[in-house]
C-alpha cells in the first residue's frame, strides 16, 4: 500500500492545565476523504492547528507522504501541500476573487505579471475542478457558498494536495452543502486528500471514506464509514448512549400567546431586514423558524424581545400590544412573561467576564428578591444560582467561577436556567445548541419540549435544519427577511432547503 498522506504519531499538546491533545495516532490515506468528528473542545481544531503550523506539538511526529516533517508555521504547511479552509473565512471582503486568491503569493513587487499568471491558473483550476467563480467579483457581493469556493481555490492555487476543511457547512444551506460535497468528491477523484472536521454525523456518513472520533483530546476510534452507524459514532463521541431523536408527544396548541402582524424592521443603515412578517405562536406549541443565517431571523426575534425597534407592524403579547416603535424595553417585556434566550450567547446572553452567579440574574436584577435596598443581596443571589446549577446540572458547579471558563454547553445552560426558571408564558430561543456538545444538546432539547408541554409558547430560531425539524410543531421558513412558507414537520428536507435558498434565486444561478 502507498504511504499515507498524513501520519501522526503520539501527538501531545497541553495548554497549561488543559490537555488538548493526548497521544494522538492518526493515519489518513492518500486520495480519501477522512472525517474527524468530536464534540466542541474534543481537540479537533487544536490537532488541525498543529498540522497547519499554528501550534507546535509538545511531543510526537508528523509524517507527510512518508517523510517526517516539522511544521513551524503555516507557510511550511503550504510548502508541504497542506491547505486549510477555515470555519470563518479568511478573505478580504473588498478585494476581488482574483486578488484574494493571489494574496501573499503575488510573486513580485509589481502586480501586473502576477495578475495575468493568476488569472490563467485560476481558469485552469476552474476547468479542472468545475469550481466556477467570476474572478473579478468582489468577495462581499458573493453568497457564502461561493466565498467558501474561493477559500478552496486559494488552497489549490497554493498547490495543496491535502485539504483540511474545518466545519465547512456551518454557514451553508442544504443545497449549498450538497454542492460542496460534490466538489469534494471531485477533488478526491483527482487524487487530493481531504480532511473534513465536523460535528455533524450526517455529513460524515454522506461523504467520508474513513472517520476518526475524538473525545477529550484523544482519538478514541477510527472506522471505515461504510462499516459504522450514526448511533455508534454518537456513542463514541459522547462516551455513552445518546438519544439522537427527540422524544416528544403530540402538541396541544392552546390560546394565541404571541402574535406578529406585518412586522417590518430596518437595520441601522436602513436596509430592510424583516419584511412584512406575520405569524402566531400558541401556547403549547413550538414554532420553528428555519433559514440560512443572515436572512432576518436575528432581527425578528430581537425585535420581539424589545431589543430592536420596528418600522411598522404590530406585536401582541397575550393580546396586549407591545410598543415596538421606540420605547420597547426588554425589562418590561420580561415582567410581562416573555423570556429570551439570545442567539449571541457570548455578547448578549451573558457577560463572560462576570462570575456565574452574576449572570444568573442578568435582566432580572431588578427583582426585589435579589436586592437589599440599593445593594445586591449576594447571599440570596448565590443561593438562587446554586439551585439552578443543581437543577440544570451546570458544570463545574461553582457560582464564583468566571463565566468564560464554562464550556459552551454549560454557558447555554446558565442562560436557559435563568430564562426558563422564571416560568415565562412565551419563550424565544435563538440557536439553542450552537457550540454546544452532544450530551448537552439532548438535555436542552428535553427542557424545550418540557416548556412546550407546560403550555408555553415557544418560538425557535436555528440554522440547524435538523434541530428545527425535530423540535418544531410548525416550521416557518425565512428568506431575505420574508416568511416565504409554512410547513408541517413532515416536510422533506429538500423542500425546506429549496425554500431556504429562495427558489427563484436558485433557478437563476443554475
Amino acid at each position: 500500500m502507498a504511504e499515507p498522506a498524513i501520519e501522526l504519531t503520539g501527538i501531545d499538546k497541553r495548554f497549561g492545565a488543559v490537555h488538548a491533545n493526548r497521544d494522538i495516532h492518526l493515519r489518513v490515506e492518500k486520495g480519501t476523504i477522512h472525517g474527524i468528528i468530536g464534540e466542541n473542545g474534543a481537540g479537533k481544531s487544536t490537532l488541525m492547528s498543529i498540522l497547519y503550523g499554528f501550534y507546535q506539538a509538545d511531543s510526537g511526529e508528523i509524517r507527510i507522504n512518508g517523510a517526517t516533517v516539522k511544521i513551524p508555521d503555516p507557510n511550511a504547511a503550504i510548502a508541504l501541500g497542506i491547505g486549510m479552509v477555515h470555519q470563518h473565512f479568511m478573505l478580504v471582503e473588498n478585494f476581488t476573487v482574483l486578488e484574494n486568491v493571489m494574496l501573499g503569493v503575488e510573486g513580485a513587487p509589481l502586480l501586473k505579471n502576477g495578475i495575468s499568471k493568476a488569472r490563467a491558473e485560476l481558469k485552469r483550476l476552474e476547468r479542472e475542478y468545475q469550481l466556477d467563480v467570476d474572478p473579478d467579483a468582489l468577495i462581499e457581493e458573493l453568497p457564502v457558498g461561493l466565498q467558501q469556493r474561493v477559500e478552496i481555490l486559494k488552497a489549490l492555487y497554493r498547490g495543496a494536495e491535502i485539504l483540511v476543511l474545518d466545519e465547512p457547512t456551518g454557514v451553508l444551506t442544504p443545497p449549498e452543502a450538497d454542492h460542496l460535497f460534490r466538489i469534494l468528491e471531485q477533488l478526491k477523484d483527482q487524487g487530493k486528500t481531504i480532511v473534513l472536521i465536523t460535528h455533524k454525523l450526517r455529513e460524515i456518513m454522506a461523504v467520508t471514506d474513513n472517520v476518526s472520533v475524538m473525545r477529550q483530546g484523544a482519538v478514541v476510534a477510527t472506522r471505515k464509514t461504510a462499516e459504522t452507524t450514526v448511533e455508534e459514532l454518537a456513542e463514541l463521541m459522547v462516551g455513552r448512549r445518546v438519544l439522537l431523536r427527540v422524544q416528544k408527544g403530540e402538541a396541544k396548541p392552546g390560546e394565541i400567546k404571541l402574535s406578529v402582524e406585518n412586522l417590518t424592521v430596518r437595520d441601522g443603515r436602513g436596509v430592510v431586514m424583516v419584511d412584512d412578517a406575520s405569524f402566531n405562536v400558541r401556547g403549547g406549541e413550538i414554532v420553528g423558524i428555519a433559514g440560512v443565517a443572515g436572512n432576518g431571523q436575528s432581527q425578528l426575534i430581537e425585535t420581539i424581545a424589545g431589543i430592536r425597534t420596528a418600522v411598522s407592524g404590530r406585536i401582541l403579547l397575550d393580546g396586549q400590544v407591545i410598543d415596538i416603535t421606540g420605547a420597547a424595553d426588554p425589562g418590561e417585556l420580561r415582567d410581562r412573561g416573555l423570556a429570551h434566550v439570545p442567539e449571541d450567547r457570548h455578547h448578549m446572553g451573558l457577560v463572560l467576564a462576570f462570575e456565574e452567579y452574576e449572570n444568573s440574574i442578568l435582566g432580572y436584577h431588578d427583582d426585589p428578591l435579589y436586592l437589599n435596598g440599593p445593594f445586591l443581596d449576594l447571599d440570596a443571589i448565590k443561593a438562587d444560582a446554586r439551585k439552578k446549577i443543581e437543577k440544570y446540572d451546570i458544570r463545574p458547579g461553582d457560582p464564583r467561577l468566571k463565566t468564560a471558563n464554562f464550556s459552551g454547553g454549560n454557558q447555554q445552560k446558565i442562560v436557559l436556567a435563568r430564562e426558563m426558571e422564571r416560568d415565562p408564558g412565551v419563550l424565544i430561543i435563538g440557536q439553542p445548541t450552537r457550540g454546544v456538545d452532544v450530551g448537552a444538546i439532548e438535555f436542552i432539547h428535553k427542557r424545550i419540549i418540557e416548556m412546550r408541554d407546560a403550555g408555553k409558547a415557544v418560538l425557535l430560531v436555528s440554522v440547524e435544519l435538523d434541530e428545527i425539524r425535530s423540535l418544531s410543531d410548525r416550521i416557518l421558513v425565512m428568506f431575505a427577511g420574508r416568511i416565504v412558507g409554512e410547513r408541517d414537520t413532515d416536510a422533506s428536507e429538500g423542500e425546506l432547503g429549496l425554500l431556504m435558498a429562495g427558489v427563484e434565486q436558485r433557478e437563476a444561478a443554475e
Partner: protein
Amino acid sequence: MSQPFAKLPAWADYGLLPLINLIVAFFVAGLVVLLVGESPIDAAVLMIKGAFGSGDGVGYTLYYATNFIFTGLCVAVAFHCGLFNIGGEGQAYIGGLGVTMVGLGLGNVLPWWLVFPLAIIASALVGALWALIPAWLQAKRGSHVVITTIMFNFIAASIMVYLLVGVLKPLGSQAPETRVFGDGGQLPGLGWLLNIVGFNMRSAPLNISFLLALVAAFAVWLLIWRTKLGYEIRTMGFSPKAARYAGISELRIIIITMMISGALAGMMALNPIMGAQHRMQLDFVAGAGFVGIAVALMGRSHPAGIVLAAILFGMLYQGGAEIAFDMPNISRDMIVIIQGLVILFAGALEHMFRPSLQRIFQRVGRGKREAAAAVATGGGQ
C-alpha cells in the same frame, strides 16, 4: 483551546506583574539618570528619603496622593462603564468653583466642620454637572466622550482664567487668585495622624481630605461591586449588547456614571483649595487629572489598587522634587520623564510581560506535575 497560555494565579496577576513593570520602569529611569551623569542609586535613595524620610516628606507624599486618589477613582468609575473620561482635569478645575463659592461665602460664618460637608456637596455637584454635558452628548448623539471631555478641559481652563483674572480676584491684587478664605474655609491638618506613627509634620499640607479620599475609595468599591447600579455599570462596561438585552437603559447609565465620575474629580479640588492654599489659584489641579488615568490603569480600576498607585505617584512627585533640588543635573523636567516612564510601563505597557510570565508559570506547573507523576510511579514499583 482558545487559551494558549496558563492563567496566572491572582497574586501574580495583581502583585508580581505590576511589580515587574515598576522595576523595569525604574531601571530605565535609572539609565536616564546615568545618562545625565548622576548616580541612579543616589537618586533612588534621595527619592525614597525625600518621600518617606521625614514627617514633611510623608505629609507631602500623602497630600499629592489625595489628589490622585480622587482623580484615579474618577477615571476608574468611568472605565467600569466602558467610558474613557479624560476630563478629570477640567472637572476638578471647575469643581474648584464649588469649593470656592462655599469657602468664600461661608468661611467667615460657619465652623469648618459645617463648611466641609457643604463644600463636598458643592464641589461634587459642580464636577458632576461639568461631566453631564459630554455624557449627554455621548448617550444621545454618540459624540465620543474622549473627544468631548478633552475639549471640556480646555473650556474649563479658559473659564477659570477668565474668572480668576477678572471676577474672583480681589480688587487691587496682581495675582490671579481669590482672597484667602475665613477660618471656617480652612481644613484641619493631619499632623496628629502622623504623630501617632512617630513622624513630625511641620509645614506639609496633608489635611483631612486625605481621609475623605479613603472614604470615597471605599464608597466606590461598594458602588461598583455591591449595588444594583454598580452591577448595571459593569454590565454596560463589559458588553453594551448584554446591557441592552437586560433592559438597562444606556442613556441613564452613561449619564449617571459620568456624573459620579465628574463628582469624584470635583471633590479633588477640596484638597488643594480648602486643605492647602485656603484660596483658589490659577491651575491648582496641575495635571492631577491626567495622572489619575495612569493611577487608574496601574490600580486596575480597583479602589485598593488606586490608593496604592496614588501613593506611589505621590512619592514620585514629592521625592522627585527633592531630587531636582539636590542634584543639579536633574531638572524638574527630568522628573517628568521618570514619571512618564512609570506611566508607560505600568499603564500603557501593562501587559508586556504577561506572556513571558505565563510561559514561566506554565513551565513551572508542568515540572511540578511531572515530578508528582514520577513520585507516583516510583511509589508503585
